[in-house]
């Protein structure tokens, strides 16, 4: 990529031997750069390192999950991007982002972007200075990898920089051939317009990169050369936004102040790199106009030492950049991994992942996700108190509104049989986050459960043009074509059986009021009346009662246990069992209110002996901290939560 080949013609030894000593001094010389083979190896290692970091460190699939600006092959989708400046690059960014759904392809795309930046920077410097300067091309690649680690919508920024660099190279080539200032100005204006249309922010890179050499060349007439170029470049977007595109959503303001602020800094490092480099290169050229004074081969040790040291420095920089980026974005990555596992129903992975999350990073959202994973794997009643718990099993007002959170919540509502709640949340998600493909898929399924195949078809038809979800949508459409009632689809039939029976109304003001309300026993009862085997409704109801420590309600809900099936309620040899935490909760209740007999609900002797031991410690140690320390071995039981919870007692 950044080899040491100079621009001079290759001369044979025979020809060189005929030259006079003076002629020999004019020969094109090897630049101050590493040896060709070393350069190639260094380049391969560098981009190989980026690939590995992109694959394992960044993990583009997380970035894909986070994307809220979807892509579609629907007619008219492309046309929507061709009507405003920056639209074409945004379209390309969205298209390429689809490749992020696959980890390997995503890593390859990230590497290709870095390689593109490096190659174009290298070419630009060669055209500007007249010779290559080793390692310089790696700098924007390092800046780009830092930006990409932030899991933001970076693709359009990187592509814009690539467009800007490409135009800058073309302009330098034009400068070599065109000597008429006005003609060159016309070329600049044309390229400026092209750059602005293709990738709006590209002109932030292109204009200074083109203007500085002009400014340098015509230092006596700066206003009509470089400064004039910069003024034109500043005027174009302002005039465009003022007169042509007054309603442009992604205008100049978003260039200069992209959100969030931490991304703003990284974006501007990348955008500002080339102008700074141009200036530095011009000063360097001015200071050392002729490198021919240094003859190659005269300093054997130096000639080998510098390239090897340079390669080591480059690789070290890459390592440091990757490490720092990874550390900086560890929190964001953790949140995305949590969302990724939960959205893709990788329950076992989610539970294992949660064990690695430190207490200070263990969010409410993770509590809810882990409870969902435990419920889906039939472990909620036996293991929930082995994990940190909040006061509720369902999200409340504190839930951050992200596409992933809303998707998970809608799916939870649907699974528990509250299709209308799921519909509200998914529709809100679509309204807020535009055509978020997961929300569209969620809605399609919701309308299938609500037995509204025509509405489901609308979403499936639109989704069939999505590159990632297209096959999923087409498969559902084929099923609908075969049988519009989906009578043979067990999952849809089960969800239909579970849907709420009561015509209940709840107010539409305030975000939390649309969330599934497990804290209302009536709601859970309603679900269980419709489908007595609705295990999720039962377990969430029980969990909510335990978390709120309102054990009086336990007696109302506990008799429903006899309708529950599955490994949590039936042992492999066919005997019925009661999940441990439910036993513990009932044991506490019975201890306070007297014995209660519930059909199908059994408290094992081991549970009673644990409670007796726990009670004994608690009664003899009034100091809370001391009691907690002494009962620490019970921290994964409901006895412990009932006394000390909620909290993280791992």
């Amino acid at each position: 990529m950044i080899t040491c080949r100079d621009c001079g013609p290759a001369l044979t030894k025979k020809v060189i031997s005929r030259l006079t000593p003076r002629q020999k001094t004019l020969l094109p010389v090897k630049p101050l750069s590493i040896q060709p083979w070393l350069g190639r190896v260094c380049g391969m290692l560098f981009f190989g390192g980026i690939f590995v970091y992109a694959l394992l460190g960044i993990d583009s699939t997380l970035r894909y999950d986070w994307q809220i600006r979807g892509f579609s092959t629907l007619p008219g989708f492309l046309a929507g991007f061709l009507i405003y400046p920056g639209g074409p690059v945004e379209y390309c960014a969205r298209l390429l982002c689809q490749g992020y759904a696959n980890g390997y392809l995503g890593a390859l795309l990230i590497t290709a972007q870095c390689a593109g930046l490096a190659a174009l920077t290298h070419l630009y410097i060669r055209l500007l200075v007249g010779r290559a300067i080793s390692f310089v091309g790696y700098i924007p690649a390092l800046l780009a990898i830092c930006l990409m680690s932030a899991y933001d919508h970076h693709l359009s920024v990187v592509l814009s920089v690539i467009v800007g660099l490409l135009l800058a190279c073309l302009f330098l080539l034009a400068m070599r051939r065109i000597h008429n200032g006005w003609l060159l100005l016309a070329v600049f204006v044309m390229m400026l317009c092209v750059g602005y249309y293709l990738a709006d922010v590209a002109i932030v890179v292109f204009a200074p990169a083109a203007a500085l050499p002009q400014l340098w060349r015509h230092r006596r007439w700066p206003v009509v050369s470089g400064v004039g170029y910069l003024v034109l470049a500043a005027a174009l977007p302002l005039a465009s936004q003022l007169w042509l595109f007054p309603s442009l959503e992604f205008g100049c303001k978003s260039w200069f102040l992209p959100e969030p602020p931490e991304v703003r800094v990284m974006t501007w490092r990348l955008l500002g790199f080339l102008p700074v480099l141009s200036l530095a290169a011009l000063i360097y050229r001015q200071l050392r106009p002729d490198k021919s004074a240094t003859q190659p081969g005269r300093h054997l040790i130096l000639n080998n030492f510098i390239p090897i040291t340079g390669a080591i420095v480059v690789m070290s920089c890459l390592g440091v950049a990757c490490y720092l980026s990874h550390m900086d974005n560890a929190g964001a990555k953790r949140n995305l991994m949590q969302d990724h596992y939960a959205c893709n129903e990788q329950w076992a992975e989610l539970i294992e992942f949660s064990r690695t999350v430190p207490t200070e990073a263990y969010s409410s959202q993770l509590c809810w996700d882990v409870d969902l994973a435990l419920c889906m794997t039939g472990r909620l009643g036996d293991e929930m108190f082995a994990f940190p718990q909040e006061r509720h099993v369902n999200p409340d007002d504190s839930m951050v509104r992200t596409p992933a959170n809303e998707y998970k919540l809608a799916q939870t509502c649907l699974r528990v049989g509250r299709a209308n709640d799921a519909e509200i949340i998914a529709q809100e998600s679509i309204t807020t986050f535009m055509q978020y493909p997961r929300a569209m898929a969620s809605l399609a399924k919701i309308y299938l459960v609500k037995d509204n195949a025509p509405a489901a078809r609308r979403y499936l038809n639109a989704l069939s043009h999505d590159l990632v979800f297209g096959a999923w949508a087409t498969n559902w459409l084929a099923q609908l074509d075969g049988d519009s009632t989906l009578a043979g689809n067990a999952e849809i039939q089960r969800l239909r059986r579970q849907s709420l029976p009561r015509r209940d109304m709840f107010p539409g003001q305030g975000a939390s009021q649309t969330y599934v309300a497990f804290d209302s026993l009536g709601t859970v009862e309603g679900s269980l009346q419709k489908d007595p085997a609705n295990q999720m409704a039962f377990e969430y109801g029980m969990a909510e009662i335990m978390l709120s420590k309102n054990l009086a309600d336990l007696i109302k809900l506990a008799p429903r246990i006899k309708n529950m099936t599955g490994p949590a309620y039936v042992t492999p040899d066919g005997r019925r069992r009661t999940p441990v935490h439910f036993q513990e909760a009932l044991a506490i209740y019975c201890d306070k209110a007297g014995p209660v007999k519930i059909d199908g609900f059994e408290i094992e002797p081991a549970t009673l002996s644990h409670m007796a031991e726990f009670k004994s410690i608690m009664s003899t140690h009034p100091d809370r901290q001391q009691a907690m320390a002494l009962t620490w071995k019970f921290r994964k039981t409901y006895f412990f939560y009932n006394c000390f919870g909620p909290g993280d007692y791992r």
């Binding site: 442009l248 303001k253 509250r418 709640d421 309204t431 025509p454 029976p501 015509r503 539409g508």
Partner: protein, 549 residues
Amino acid sequence: MTRRRKLVAVAAIGLTLAAAIAAWAICRAPDVSGACDVGRLAKIYPDCADVTVPPNIAPLNFQIQEPADKYHVAISSGLDSDSAGRIQIDCRDVDIRIPAKAWHELLGKHQGNSIAVDVYTRIGQGWKRFTRFQIHVAPEPIDSYAFYRLIPPLFKSHRQMALYQRDLRDFDERVMLDNETSLDSSGNSPAEGCVNCHTFLNHRTDKMLLHVRPSAMSSWQPAMLLVQDGKAKRVETRIGKQRGAGYTSWHPSGELLAFSRNILRQYFHADSPETREVVDDDSDLGLYVVATGQVVTDPKISRPDRLETFPTWSPDGKWLYFCSTAMWNPSKEARPDKSFHVRYDLMRIEFDLASRHFGRLETVVSSDQMGKSITEPRISPDGRFLMFCAHEYGSFPLYQNDSDLYMVDLSKLAGQQAASAPTTGPAPDSSPTPLAVADAAPVRLSLNSDRSESYHSWSSNSRWVIFSSKREDGLFVRLYICHIDEQGRCGKPFILPQKDPNFYSRFLMTYNVPELAIEPVTVTQAELVNAINAPSTMPAGNYAPASKL
């Protein structure tokens, strides 16, 4: 001529002939004379078989939902002897896009008659012919422009909401005001605000009203925009803490606007095919005087014991029609399901523009008589027909599957007007006079479906109605256009035509509040934005009784 030149000439002639033959082969209509009859109509989407269309409508592009290798469609007068203007479309694609120029010529030629559409499909070598269907071309044109709002199926947030202007003669659609991309000079937008309630005076756009209700996050203020003579200005209809105007209707003179002031609450059904519900807790009517900016009312149209809403003026301006029901939630704390029995009556009250006095109050159609709640009345510009929604309960037909459009022939009520002399003074406790409507009983229109039909608007010549319907899927509202003849009979409605025949099958926005007008809106989005942020140019209303004007 040298030998070489001869060779070049022969080659050129040969190439020209080959090109001509190839072009003929490509362009010639296939021979479908031997096609075998299928004996049924082809499955097409959107359904345009036997619909009645205006002569100035855009092409009704459609999709043939029959499997085939090739498709041939012939649109003609239906007479073999008359081949002039015949449109023939051959394609391998299921999408049939009718050339606009030829379509308009054909409709113009058959105004008041019908055109025939023949659909052929080919699988292998054999052509199949489906049963011919007709498209009836009405003699009366429709107003050239439709205005509507496009929104996602709304639940709580008001994002991605915009008002559009559509030229019905072609497919040109333009944004009037967008709540996300409408930016003021500081780059701020209404931010999830509601843009709605566009009302035109007499189907013209030089005098119109527009409502913008920005969200709490926006720096914009709620605004009622009055467009007059191509200039937009902000006017104030709020008095103190009272809400601003909701549903509005221009008095035909252009001097007044009748409006309702509603306290609406949204609810959700935990289980029901329709998730959403809107309940009106309180509403009154008022008048906005354009010249002075005053807001006035009258006890007869703002009774504390009743809810009055959906005002609409008769074309002669002598009657204000509205819907009314008894106050059902005086404490404003009743459970929303108590509203399931609330039904609105269709009322009218006499109005004298010169004295600005309200007179006799009459019940035009009672909800008891209908067994349904009556909402959204609109009167045809010729004053003959009154169309309204009738549904099980409440005042929000959009969310009720059983909502249908009904019509009353007002000419049969005319005799009732002379029955009693108009009263001049306010009579707050006077009961409305029920009209004998035996001869003018509301008729359920044939344009209805088994899903919700709701907001509707008449054309200026009273022969067309554009209305909202959820007939396709019960979720997304689509706009349909229907011909109403002099006797009040409906033709078969057709969906608002789109360039892409498959457009509606994957379009995830819903249409809202359609209105017809004879001309485009000339005020620009930028001017509207500037007007929203400008200080109100009218004095604040004083909510005086109408009699004091």
